[in-house]
Assembly symmetry: C2
Homo-oligomer: 437 residues x 2
């Protein structure tokens, strides 16, 4: 397929490059041209020429932390204290979830990612293979990571996934990871450190999401989580940590030195009352900050526009400085920095030779007007309603409110509700019986 | 016009009434039936029968605090410290704004309200008459309030508006108000108190938005703003205060006793680094809490979905309790409580005899699935993308992404950008010259 986008505003996200007026040409999965309208347009046979009508083409958003399969639990366990949420709702349900269930709920999440202009996800959950299958079938770029822990995922299993899920499908990759310090024994974490050391791999983990977690780690090991994991040699090849709400300066210095990304999840941190991550400080330390939605049980939506506003809004609030973390910095987090954290350099910016993961945002809508500053409009007032088109790996998967996938969205919704009905009918400890109002 | 909505889920927002399956009938501007499908459907001549396809009908959102005309300043003055924002950007531009400019920028805001399911706005700005004209022409329900202050609006002027803008247009009303304690002399505030006392009217005012404001008031009058205004007899007939981020317990008690609503503006309070209003405490005190977007210079979007998530998310964060301020409470704030604050009892709920201000939310979208809890889905993961239809006073003004108004949206955008170009070309002190990146 050869697709020509013309009459566009283009925010390539290359450093210091302003928004240009011009064209983007896509051939198969690759971008072959980004620039002004070429006077001598080659007589290429286009499969489609898309008039962008002055709207904004930019790299798709990278959702650098999610648990897609948790759409099952959306609006099932809200407005509860954190411990009740986890122990009485989330864990009992998760214990029942099959690989097939997660496949179906991941597909539901993928639909939502497309509506929000998300073109890559970084997914940590129970069954990477069925998540990979769902993403591959739907055309979503997905980096999976392990969730090794004392109960359900071993290092051996992660090793098998690491071998199986890399190199076979251009949309799918797998990076080592474990759930968290507080769900792994020291012995297990030493095994993980050995695994990544042997293979020279980065590692990804939930870290310092809550104050209680940090306190527990200090009691167990006399160190904060980042320092403790570093003492095990965990970060020799970089990687990333999710949340990082309660990081100390010392941990920030370690992550800066070891090129460990911090992936922030502001909506989840609000909804679960975890706190506000010190983003301004991260930036001052030179950390690579990316953005994730976290899973839909704790957010509950998969919307990078909401996350972007929260990243800057909460930074302004927590520093008392309305100039903190400006809009361009946030757009960089949602695109380039996410790609860096996910080891996807081929989709970070719009440029010749990169893979065609891009979105078209409708500027002909009231929330994008007037045009005082297009990038600030995207960050401060953009919404899913502005996403006109989402392209991944050269394929248009969502356009003008319609999904261009093989399956009917309605079939995916039906299947999701059918599975939930099965859970309701069975003996799940705290079943999905919260009546609608 | 007689319109029959059928095959709907209906959230009437009447106390403790669950979501029902059924129909809503509208005749001219009024709701004439809400309930189950009637077996003996009268042989009415419908002008239109709308199959809601199982989607959700509910009362439209009430945006209980905004400055619509500030769309002019959207994305013009972000990422600046508060004082620089106000003094170097907002005030110099506002000093140049004509009544006609505000008319055009209000129309731009109205378009955005419609996309967000907002059916009533409570607008405080420089030129109530031109705002009323814009809303009336477009079909938006608008309650205006005075912004009396030392510099630009006198009590006499407010009196003229109060007489002129009430009782003539069913969409328009006017309630007394003043900008803030810190922009009015004591003499002026005493005049305002006399005005409302004579006419037995409520009063509306910005109050305790920032800590600096409270400190200044304490220095001037030895009392916090709420106590000081109460000492002038300002709240004898109720009314409302905007923001209330830094209210004391004593002020909350006064507002509860005097039936003064608190209108919270969470996105604005984040973006301008003002703080988090103690919503949980307001509710414990029995205050009527409503929600506003504030103006688009400080938010920057006019999106009740984002505000609703922030109300509960920030309450959870600030109390450290993930069960604080549940979803139904937030929906009540965005509808019923807003109507109470704005003195619009005829549009608070969906019921026979009420005015037809309603919205249809698309549940056949990934962010509204699965259907574990419809109301929580709306609050925690709803977005503008879910708004299928917005009806005000019995007229459908927005449907399936199209505006059903006399003017082309594109003409409104063009006019807005044209006015900005004129500002750029003239000698505004700090003109709109921030280049797009």
């Amino acid at each position: 397929m050869r697709i020509r986008f013309f009459n566009a505003r283009i925010l390539t996200m290359e450093t210091n490059r302003p928004i240009i007026q011009g064209e983007v040409w896509v051939e198969q999965e690759k971008i072959v041209y980004v620039g002004e309208k070429n006077k001598e347009q080659p007589t290429l046979c286009w499969d489609e020429e898309i008039d962008c009508d002055g709207n904004l083409l930019m790299p798709g958003f990278k959702n650098a932390h999610t648990h897609s399969g948790m759409t099952l639990l959306r609006s099932y366990a809200d407005d509860l204290p954190l411990q009740a949420w986890l122990n009485e709702r989330v864990f009992p349900i998760e214990a029942k979830m099959s690989s097939e269930d997660i496949y179906h709920f991941t597909k539901l999440a993928v639909l939502e990612y497309l509506t929000s202009g998300i073109t890559s996800i970084f997914d940590m959950y129970l069954t990477p293979e069925s998540i990979a299958r769902a993403c591959s079938e739907m055309g979503m770029r997905c980096v999976l990571t392990g969730a090794v822990n004392n109960f359900s995922q071993s290092v051996e299993l992660m090793g098998r996934w690491w071998e199986k899920l890399n190199g076979n499908d251009p949309l799918i990759s797998f990076l080592p990871g474990f759930h968290a310090e507080y769900t792994c024994s020291r012995e297990l974490m030493e095994q993980i450190a050995a695994f990544i050391s042997e293979r020279k791999q980065p590692v990804y983990v939930h870290l310092s999401e809550t104050q209680a977690e940090v306190k527990g780690c200090l009691e167990r090991w006399g160190m904060t989580p980042g320092c403790f994991l570093d003492s095990l040699g965990m970060f020799e090849y970089g990687g990333g940590i999710y949340h990082g709400v309660w990081l100390t300066e010392q941990e920030m210095d370690i992550f800066q030195e070891k090129r460990v990304s911090v992936i922030t999840n502001p909506a989840s941190n609000l909804k679960l009352a975890s706190g506000i991550a010190p983003i301004s400080q991260f930036l001052k330390k030179g950390l690579n900050v990316a953005i994730g939605t976290d899973g839909p049980a704790s957010n509950n939506c998969l919307d990078m526009f909401r996350e972007m506003f929260l990243v800057t809004g909460l930074a302004k609030l927590s520093t008392g400085d309305a100039s903190a973390v400006d809009a361009m910095e946030v757009l960089k987090m949602a695109t380039v920095n996410g790609a860096y954290a996910m080891r996807l350099p081929q989709v970070d910016v719009l440029a010749k030779g990169k893979l065609a993961d891009l979105i078209l945002l409708d500027l002909h809508m009231p929330n994008m007007q007037p045009m005082n500053h297009i990038a600030k409009n995207v960050v401060y007032s953009g919404s899913k309603l502005n996403v006109k088109l989402t392209m991944i790996h050269g394929r248009i998967l969502y356009r003008n409110g319609r999904f261009l996938i093989s399956e009917e969205p309605e079939a995916i919704y039906e299947k999701a509700n059918e599975i939930i009905q099965e859970y309701r009918n069975c003996s799940v400890p705290s079943p999905l019986r919260c009546k609608n109002p």
